[in-house]
């Protein structure tokens, strides 16, 4: 029997949700197993880094790499797997664009350590120890991977062949990609997004879209949305208009506004900026003719105040991969 192509799934800074999405293939996982030698997955298998290092270059057919690049180890593994893989595929929002942990880019490494290891009320740390790449102890020097200043996307540290967006990617879309690779179908040019559409979530959302004019935003708990009308038009901050489709719009169709996990639509580099530009055009502060500047400013302020969290809303998944990338320190 000829040797099956090798498949690896690696997690860097990640939550494990992408692995669950893979497992959610259910019985199709057997087809994956039939087609591939599933040989590396720290979450499920006992293969070690040294086993990978021992492989000849390009001997892994596909590596599905999930998780963002938060530490030196993440980057080291990304580079190693790049070297050993024919196809390196970014799986999920973290690898593609940095995802929720990318919001850490609004803070410095020092601020994060202070919050986690010093100010955290459930931590007892009288010595004020914070992680350091090298710590001297009586037994010698202890080393751990360095914690980077900024969260990076996989594409920011190594060349990536394809991107499968989503937090996590929908299982059927992972299958679509696996199936395409297995079938030997002609794959799109390197750098393309796979397992997703080319439009926005609105294209898949069956809610009726009419006049977009938003006088204020509501948090999800504040209103029960009308079931057939566009959520954004009802004042729920649905990111669907600025989010790539492919998920099937399960959230808006279950009365939950899209939070944008499939990232920017095709050809858009900055999802948050796009959303803000679109909202800027449809927010309604009423007729301002003859109103004083102060009153107009107050109305704008009041409307913007109904947006709970700018970065966490507009850049929930995409801050490291966006044009701004995070907070800039001077």
């Amino acid at each position: 029997m000829p040797e099956k192509p090798k498949l690896a799934i690696y997690w860097a800074a990640s939550c494990g949700g992408c692995e669950i999405a893979v497992v959610n293939l259910h019985e199709k996982i057997l087809d994956v197993d039939a087609a591939f030698e599933f040989m590396f997955c720290p979450c499920l298998l006992d293969t070690k880094k040294k086993d990978i290092e021992a492989l000849p270059d390009k001997s892994i057919a596909i590596t599905l790499f999930n998780g963002a690049i938060r530490t030196a180890e993440n980057e080291e593994m990304a580079r190693l797997l790049r070297k050993k893989s024919q196809l390196l595929i970014a799986l999920g929002s973290c690898a593609c664009e940095g995802c929720i942990l990318g919001l850490a880019n609004l803070h410095s490494k020092q601020e994060i350590f202070k919050a986690v290891y010093l100010d955290n009320p459930t931590i007892d740390n009288p010595a004020g120890t914070i992680p350091s790449p090298a710590s001297e102890v009586p037994e010698g020097t202890l080393t751990i991977p360095a914690f980077y200043d900024k969260v990076k996307t996989l594409g920011q540290v190594t060349a990536v062949d394809y991107f499968i967006p989503g937090c996590p990617p929908e299982s059927h879309q992972i299958w679509n990609v696996v199936e395409a690779v297995v079938s030997g179908a002609q794959l799109p040019p390197a750098g393309s997004v796979l397992g997703a559409g080319c439009l926005s979530v609105c294209d898949e959302c069956e809610r009726v879209k009419e006049d977009k004019k938003i006088a204020r935003f509501y948090r999800n708990f504040e209103i029960t949305p009308e079931p057939r009308k566009c959520l954004l038009e009802q004042g729920l901050l649905c990111m669907g208009i600025a989010t790539r489709d492919g998920c099937g719009a399960p959230c808006p169709q279950a009365n939950m506004p899209c939070t944008g996990c499939y990232g920017p639509p095709e050809g858009i580099t900055d999802q948050g900026a796009r959303m803000i530009a679109a909202l800027g055009s449809i927010l309604d502060i009423g007729d301002c003719k003859g109103k004083s500047e102060e009153e107009i400013a107050a109305r704008v302020e009041a409307l913007l105040d109904s947006v709970p969290d700018y970065a966490g809303t507009f850049y929930k998944y995409s801050l490291p991969g966006s044009i701004i990338g995070g907070r800039v320190k001077r």
Binding site: C202, D211, I282
Partner: protein, 651 residues
């Protein structure tokens, strides 16, 4: 790609501050520029000849012109390019005069800035596309809505220029409000007499055949856009054949029923068949089916028809409503105004006290064809010993209408003048917040009122400072100082407001309304006769409170726009700088539709994509910025061009 740069010295304007030679040295290493040429005055005749010849010789693919503001000479250079056989959109202009030479002290910095700006243009111009103006067939016909002074003058002006005009009037009579007024400020001319020549021209004049007058008609549907509107007009039955009727009035007398006459503000009665008032044009009565027993009771009365000296068939009992469809290239809104509802002021007693009248009612009382044949009498038939005019009712008032209507003082002083001659002993009281009488003729009536020894002027601050109550022998008005004064008749001069149909028409035509409910003009000073919708023009008091002079001028202004913008036999040129939707990228979220100020975007339900109408689009780019998909392209301002320009400026 061969890209040439033309650097204009603008005499010393640019050359004094920016050294073209140094700019050239700075730019050469990038390799983007194929040649760099300097010209002393590129916009001069010599400069244009040089540019044209040079473009023919060099045959560049793209050019960058570093000179003045594109607002000044972009069109000039584009024309030269066209003459040289080059697509004029393959050029990018860089404003190095206003934005650099005039504002940069240090020549070194000026050279650097200029180089950066030209480099940005070089990066951008590479991406420029050949754009062509497109042409569209148009209908020269015009729809005018409203046959008051503004609409009449517009229709006549256009008809005289040979345009086919459909003039739609809601009521059975033309002439608008002033035709109801016996005399007009400022020169005490007779309203109907002044309008008569215009109305006669409309009805029977040399160019009358160009005008289709539809009375008792309203616009019900509009489709299409500038140059090609398809309109539907509903005309209610008049029951009188307007062409056969000679207007003799023989039919009125035999008619057995009557009702109140709305044209005299219900202050008198008229028969079921009759004129709105004597002298009304078109010179034919109309039959009111809400009064005529044939319609109310199903009777077979034909008294009017039997009395008609022109025979049977002039009165048409089975006349039907008609839907009239027309194609027009442009529409003039001239729907006029009305008065603010005085019954909102409980303290003024309007509607409760019989001798509290509005200005419109008082005009009819003054009119010789009005309910009292021009006799000024109270509800008891007596001549009033005192008449109070309350100015500014609902005007200059944040709770009602914050503006000054501008005409009320004028007509109140006209009333003063008329009363002075009709009732020499009657006391006159003017209660006012402010008095305005600007204009070269308007002060005369004001001064005459001031000189009238029977007249008293009292100023008040708020309308609530006044209270009108009924007394046995008339009205008592409580004044701001707490004193009271008697008035046998009180005339309210309320704010001028848009007519009730304004909102409906605005929605039908997508013409926006201002915060007072008037049709909103394109620009308050420069373009008050144009709406924001291309091809829809505004005339008269539907745009803002207006006197007759302003209304007629605006009617003619709108006609002028139409005559210059839609010329018979000339197609309209479409500027290629419009937006277009990539249908394959549109997800149908409809964000763009709301943001378009020109209503140029509609939704193709079948394909679930937005579509921009290139005729209506002004190329403002608002939808381009709003589209979360980046699915809308603005010709000549694509995202790629803008990013390339930014990159060129930064790198």
């Amino acid at each position: 790609m061969k890209i040439g740069v033309y650097f204009c010295n603008c005499g010393t304007n640019i050359a004094d501050r920016i050294d073209g030679g140094k700019v050239r040295e700075y730019l050469e290493p990038s390799g983007r520029m194929s040649y760099f040429k300097t010209c002393p005055f590129l916009c001069s005749e010599d400069g244009k000849v040089f540019l044209e010849q040079d473009l023919k010789d060099e045959k560049p693919d793209r050019i960058v012109i570093a000179a003045c503001s594109p607002r000044e000479h972009e069109a000039t250079f584009m024309r030269v390019m066209g003459q040289a056989g080059m697509n004029p959109y393959l050029m990018q202009m860089v404003n190095i005069r206003e934005q650099i030479a005039w504002v940069t002290e240090d020549p070194e910095k000026a050279v650097k800035k200029t180089s950066v700006a030209i480099n940005a243009a070089l990066k951008r111009v590479e991406l420029h596309e050949m754009l062509e103006k497109q042409e569209l067939e148009v209908s020269p016909a015009v729809l005018v809505i409203g046959a008051g002074p503004a609409g009449l003058k517009a229709a006549l002006t256009l008809a005289e220029a040979g345009r086919r005009v459909t003039l739609v009037e809601k009521s059975p009579v033309i002439g608008g409000l002033p035709v109801l007024f016996e005399e007009l400020f400022p020169n005490m001319e007779c309203g109907p007499c002044m309008l008569e020549p215009v109305m006669a021209e409309i009805l029977h004049g040399e160019h009358a055949e160009n005008i289709e007058l539809l009375t008792m008609a309203e616009l019900t549907e509009v489709a299409g856009y500038f140059g090609n509107f398809e309109v539907k007009i509903r005309q209610r039955p008049r029951y009188v054949d307007i062409h056969q009727c000679i207007g003799c009035g023989e039919c009125f007398e035999p008619c057995p029923v009557s009702g109140t006459n709305p044209f005299n503000n219900d202050m008198d009665e008229k028969k079921a068949i009759g004129f709105t008032f004597m002298g009304a044009l078109p010179n034919a009565p109309y039959l009111d089916p809400t009064l005529c027993t044939r319609f109310t009771e199903g009777s077979d009365c034909s008294a009017c028809s039997a009395a008609c000296p022109m025979g049977e068939g002039v009165i048409v009992f089975d006349d039907q409503e008609q839907i009239i469809e027309r194609q027009v290239g442009s529409i003039i809104l001239a729907t006029g105004s009305t008065l603010y509802d005085c019954s909102r002021f409980d303290n003024l007693g309007y509607g409760r006290l019989p001798d509290v009248k509005t200005a419109l009612e008082f005009e009819r009382i003054l009119a010789s064809n009005g309910p009292t044949a021009g006799e000024v009498v109270t509800s008891t038939g007596e001549q009033p010993g005192s008449v109070a005019f309350i100015h500014c009712v609902g005007s200059l008032d944040d709770d009602h209408k914050p503006y000054c209507s501008g005409i009320c003082c004028q007509y109140a002083f006209k009333y003063n003048h008329l009363l002075e001659s009709k009732l020499t002993d009657t006391k006159i009281l003017h209660l006012y917040k402010e008095i305005v009488s600007p204009g070269k003729e308007e002060y005369a009536l004001h001064r005459a009122a001031r000189d009238n020894h029977n007249a008293t002027f009292i100023r008040y601050d708020r309308i609530s400072d006044l209270a009108v109550t009924g007394e046995n022998d008339g009205q008592k008005i409580r004044l701001p100082d707490g004193n009271s004064i008697n008035a046998d008749m009180v005339v309210l001069c309320p704010a001028v407001v848009p007519t009730a149909d304004t909102e409906k028409l605005g929605a039908m035509l997508d013409v926006s309304l201002d915060r007072f409910g008037f049709f909103e003009e394109l620009h308050g000073r420069m373009d008050s006769a144009r709406s924001k919708i291309r091809g829809v023009y505004l005339s008269g008091a539907c745009q803002a409170p207006a006197d007759i002079q302003k209304a007629t001028s605006q009617g003619m202004a709108a006609s002028g726009f139409i005559l210059s913008e839609l010329v018979e036999g000339r197609k309209i040129e479409l500027d290629p700088l419009f937006a277009s939707v990539y249908p394959e990228k549109c997800a149908g979220c409809k964000v763009c539709m709301r943001v378009c100020p020109y209503r140029a975007i509609h939704f193709d339900e079948e394909n679930s994509v937005s579509v921009v109408n290139g005729v209506l689009c002004h190329g403002c780019g608002t939808c381009v910025a709003a589209c979360p998909m980046g699915a809308i392209k603005a010709n000549h301002f694509t995202n790629e061009m803008i990013l390339a320009e930014i990159e060129g400026a930064l790198k």
